[in-house]
């Protein structure tokens, strides 16, 4: 049987999928990939369901060795140097490790998390419908903790189909979009403006639970203690010191600081990938626009398999082009950035 063995790995690397839902009422946080679009890209490349479990690799390097047979993997998300025995491996492509070969990954560049999907998926025991690691709750499979050197993941033998490449659809850039609330009325208009106009940087002490932000101090109108209420991915709490914390995939299910705004779901992964120390801004948008973006984002994830092609053949996805044209979008045959995800609807 083929296996993928973790030869070396840095902290903040773990098996993650679309997340664990349905038990937030018992204090169990969803976890799941920090950047679901990149998870879906890696999975789509190897023919897995978009939100199947894959290896989320934090900012540091890692190496994986195929043992017992060939293993096909795909790398997406944050760019990083990658090679097999000095043979470079491209981001957003599949590659097959022959028995005994090692894929070596360097530090992430221009992002924080990369996703390594394994053809055939990750073999494990789902708990509450998910393999995602939640170390605090002792959940996750095959290991209920971040990955360590020596860990072994069962894998299907690599299929004989050609290697593939994904051409990602254009995604938003610019400010991280938020909708104000639920407790924006705990802040004056001046403080809301300071939050929205200010320049922010993610602190180096951030992790999968929360991203601590460095920037202007945001003062509360009535103090920083509110009665704990529910949180969501992207809730922006303002702590007693006036420093906002964006709650991420491993957040507590409830929190007792006022929440000035919430990152829209379409931009959550983009924020997750913003490296510590890089300046960025927020921008408030209307609920209707945020929901339109959320629907577009889901369609984009569902449509990723249509952006996958054999490595020499990706420019000839006529079907995707035609579908996009039927939907009435302006599409350039030479600019893949204008191609639309093919939606199931």
């Amino acid at each position: 049987m083929s296996t993928l063995v973790v030869a070396s790995i840095g902290p903040a690397s773990s098996v993650q999928d679309g997340g664990r839902f349905g038990a937030q009422r018992y204090g169990l946080t969803p976890s799941g990939a920090m950047d679901k679009l990149s998870l879906a890209a890696a999975n789509s490349l190897v023919g897995n369901a978009p939100l199947a479990a894959a290896i989320e690799i934090g900012p540091f390097g890692a190496a994986f060795t195929a043992k017992g047979g060939a293993v096909r993997v795909a790398l997406a998300g944050a760019s990083r140097p990658a090679d097999i025995a000095k043979r470079p491996v491209e981001l957003n492509t599949t590659v097959t490790l022959a028995d005994g070969e090692t894929l070596t990954l360097g530090f992430a560049r221009g992002g924080s998390f990369s996703y390594l999907a394994i053809e055939g998926g990750i073999d494990g025991e789902p708990l509450f419908g998910s393999l995602s690691v939640n170390a605090r709750a002792g959940l996750g499979s095959p290991y209920p903790r971040p990955l360590q050197a020596g860990d072994t993941l069962a894998a299907k033998p690599a299929s004989d189909r050609p290697e593939r490449r994904i051409t990602l659809p254009a995604t938003a850039s610019g400010p991280i979009r938020v909708v104000l609330g639920p407790q924006d009325d705990e802040f004056t208009d001046e403080m809301k403006a300071l939050f929205l106009d200010g320049e922010w940087k993610i602190s180096g002490t951030s992790d999968r639970m929360g991203y601590r932000l460095e920037g202007p101090a945001i003062r509360h109108m009535h103090g920083h203690n509110i009665v704990s209420d529910g949180t969501v991915d992207g809730s922006i709490q303002v702590t007693g010191s006036g420093a906002p914390i964006v709650l991420m995939a491993d957040r507590g299910t409830s929190g007792g600081y006022p929440k000035i705004a919430t990152v829209i779901s379409a931009d959550f992964g983009r924020l997750a990938q913003t490296p510590a120390g890089t300046a960025f801004r927020f921008k408030a948008i209307a609920m209707a626009d945020a929901q339109a973006e959320a629907r577009k984002f889901r369609e984009q994830i569902a449509g990723l398999p249509d952006h996958v092609g054999e490595i020499e053949n990706v420019e000839l996805r006529l079907e995707a082009l035609m579908t996009a044209n039927v939907a009435g979008h302006a599409v350039s045959a030479t600019d893949v950035g204008t191609w639309q995800a093919v939606t199931s609807g």
Partner: protein
């Protein structure tokens, strides 16, 4: 709640509930800004009403002291449409009808399992035994479960035991901690940080993997405590580790 008023319809004494946008995929229905008994009962009643209403698009709900967080799929239902339905239910007559479960939970008070018991007694100018007597006399309700798996926040603490939280939270407190903080008492299932005063420790696991049920308590459940000695605690703790429920469910 006695059986006689199980079907009582709650009087509307709070300000009207508010809808608070919580991103593009969740709405908070807020009944009060403070910890309020009526608000919490309304939260739990709305939670039950949503089960019956079976609104398409709602993915899960999270009851808290004063609000209900409703997660939903914006591809199925939009904020305005869902918000209108939630507000209609929240402002309507919310029935308390529904089965309430009641649990008896053992606690080993004091000693190494209740490191703050002596200090709490000193601060309140009563004996440690009196603190325990008042704590076990309480009729509590699970107001919410949150923060970490199984962490159960209970309302109903004797006002004479209410005191502010520790100046500096402890970074690690043990699993099974029974503590008081502010006007609440709680059962912390997993080891973790806490600023509460630790009175004792329970052998029960409110969250245990591979046990049926994984989560023992539900928001809205009633809880009473009873004191056990160290020897009983150890025996119960071993049985609980092996998957026994230990907490007794009694007829409400």
């Amino acid at each position: 709640m006695s059986p006689a008023n199980v079907f009582e319809v709650m009087a509307d004494v709070l300000p009207p509930p508010r809808l608070l946008p919580s991103g593009d995929s969740a709405i908070t229905v807020e009944f009060s800004r403070t910890i309020d008994e009526t608000a919490n009962r309304k939260v739990l009643a709305l939670d039950r009403a949503l089960v019956d209403a079976a609104i398409t698009g709602i993915t899960e709900t999270v009851p808290t002291y004063r609000s209900l967080l409703v997660h939903y799929d914006p591809s199925v239902i939009a904020y305005d449409a869902l918000g209108a339905q939630l507000l209609a239910l929240a402002t309507g007559p919310l029935s308390l009808a529904g089965k309430t479960r009641r649990w008896r939970v053992p606690v080993h008070y004091g000693g190494a399992d209740g490191i703050d018991l002596e200090d709490v007694a000193k601060a309140l100018n009563i004996t440690p035994d009196e603190v325990v007597a008042r704590h076990v006399a309480g009729q509590y309700r699970v107001a919410m479960i949150g923060f970490t798996p199984g962490w159960s926040y209970l309302s109903g603490l004797d006002p004479s035991l209410q005191m502010s939280r520790r100046q500096s939270p402890r970074l690690l407190t043990p699993a099974g901690m029974i503590a008081i903080g502010g006007i609440q008492t709680g059962i912390q299932c997993l080891a973790g940080p806490s600023g509460w005063h630790i009175l004792g420790r329970t052998p029960i696991r409110t969250y245990q993997l591979h046990r049926e049920p994984t989560f023992l308590l539900e928001p809205g459940d009633e809880v009473t405590f009873y004191a056990v000695d160290a020897k009983t605690f150890i025996a119960q703790d071993q049985a609980a580790e092996a998957g026994a429920i230990i907490a007794e469910q009694v007829a409400a």
